[in-house]
Amino acid sequence: MTLSWFHKLVPSKIRTEASSKSTVPEGLWCKCPSCSAILYKAELERNLEVCPKCNHHMRINGRRRLHIFLDPENRREIGEALRPTDPLKFKDSKKYKDRLLQAQKVTGEKDALIVMHGALKNKPLVAAAFDFDFMGGSMGSVVGERFVRGVNVSLENRIPLVTFTASGGARMQESLLSLFQMAKTSAALARLADAGIPFISVMTDPTMGGVSASVAMLGDINIAEPNALIGFAGPRVIEQTVRETLPEGFQRSEFLQEHGAIDMIVDRRELRDRIACLLSMLTYVRQPAITLESVLETEPIEIETALPITLESRAHSEVE
């Protein structure tokens, strides 16, 4: 705390980003990876892991994400029984199997996506969140399958889908199977769109590569948290390719909004309110000017033509 005046003087670029990988560390106190302010952990948690001093949005894991987003009641996990396998018997310096086991031990998750059927302010929806701590939130077969099952629950119940992405992209250890998850998830989202069911994509830090180039960018409304790194190619790859220094703020949320890729940047603490409000407008069904009762009373002869339309639109408005 005593040094915070000093940190304010140091431009943020000079400060190392290396520590920003860690989520909230153990103990009572922790340090903001952006402004280095020493923060009381309980207070930070109440603030949804947003630094009260500099507004830095820290990375949070998938389960915590859904926990703070969904209503506490009536949550049901989708596809939780799905487990990753090692179809290629992949091995680099480590075996894929061992990497999986380690990631499962560290995160307590079976894979990098958690999907839940729940509610937001009493309106049912499906929400999915990537877990960046699980192998960089990479998308393999289980992530793709869980995602599609989530979309299917949306389709069957005609309820909205909200996703929170945090991923480095496709999972190399499942090779082409991972790449094809981009196709699988995008195809499912195309069905959702055709069915007229809203899909809101929330991009959090970081959303890159194959995940950015599939599920993340296909939202009816694309939202980003402040200052999230979002893009297709990683900044280092681009720097090596074009051999020039990247512009300030390149591939950050504000950059994406400026270039027309996202609709809005929303503070984590406002996400519930904003998304609930947006969804209430997207799912609003205008009440028919002539009610069923009035049709029955006044124009019994035209029931056959009027009935299907009225019933269908009423049915949609009543689905919750």
Binding site: A81, P87, V142, E174, L176, S178, G210, A213, S214, F232
Partner: protein
Amino acid sequence: MDLNFLDFEQPISELEAKIEELRRVGFDNEINISEEITRLEEKSRKLTESIFSSLSAWQISQLSRHPQRLYTLDYVDLIFEDFHELHGDRGFADDPAIVGGLARLEQRPVMIIGHQKGRDTKEKIYRNFGMPRPEGYRKALRLMHLAERFHLPLLCFIDTPGAYPGIGAEERGQSEAIARNLAEMSKLKTSVICTVIGEGGSGGALAIGIGDRLLMLQYSTYSVISPEGCASILWKSADKAELAAEAMGITCERLEALGLIDEIVPEPLGGAHRDRGAAAGNLKAALIKHLDVLENELPEALIANRYQRLMQYGAYDETSLFS
């Protein structure tokens, strides 16, 4: 012959040089050494056969990027008639890294879309080494919709190191352009055949790669990331590309075993560039064979089957394996 031999083809190269030398000697001195030449040619063929019968993934990867490998426009030239190239995304620019247009495949009109690499330095730069920018994918999408509207089968040829990692590409929404194509191709109301003819480089390849059939030329590759890229991330050194190529299973044989491709289109001995006519002939026959089947299907059935295909991609367990 100027065949640009790869490292592992060195023994073949030496033999071919010897044959060439003998030919010149024979021509100059009018000594009949044709028998010797025939013998050496036979030996060269046997040697090529033996080398090509056990290629490593890395060697196939090199073949897929061979400087003389046939590119999309070469196949267009050799397989189709009446090709009319269509340019531009109508929003920003024309991307020369993706070509497309109308053509006839034995009478029947089709829409063609493919990545295009350049042959010499100047053209390589013009084609951006076959790495498309968002406008390339958006042009492709425009042509896909055109094909759909006029009930033309869509033939896609994949041959790219990947989508271009550049500043402008990111500014104009590379991710969105790719994602949009994936979603749209999944429900395109016309038959789509995709063929990997060279390098199938990641999302940049997939963005024109969703269809009713996925074919691969024998010495093409398809992977989630380039072997070099994978090596530099997982092995922390691009020199380990050979290991990465092997581990990722990027060859048509491995991918067929995983159930991800429908057919391997055979290449002539030594690779497509060794006999361009034969290579194109094989591809043409395969395309016609699949088109004949697909053309009899109703659009609704095509889309339903395509969706089924997409949904079954993946390998997972629903019983506890790692818990």
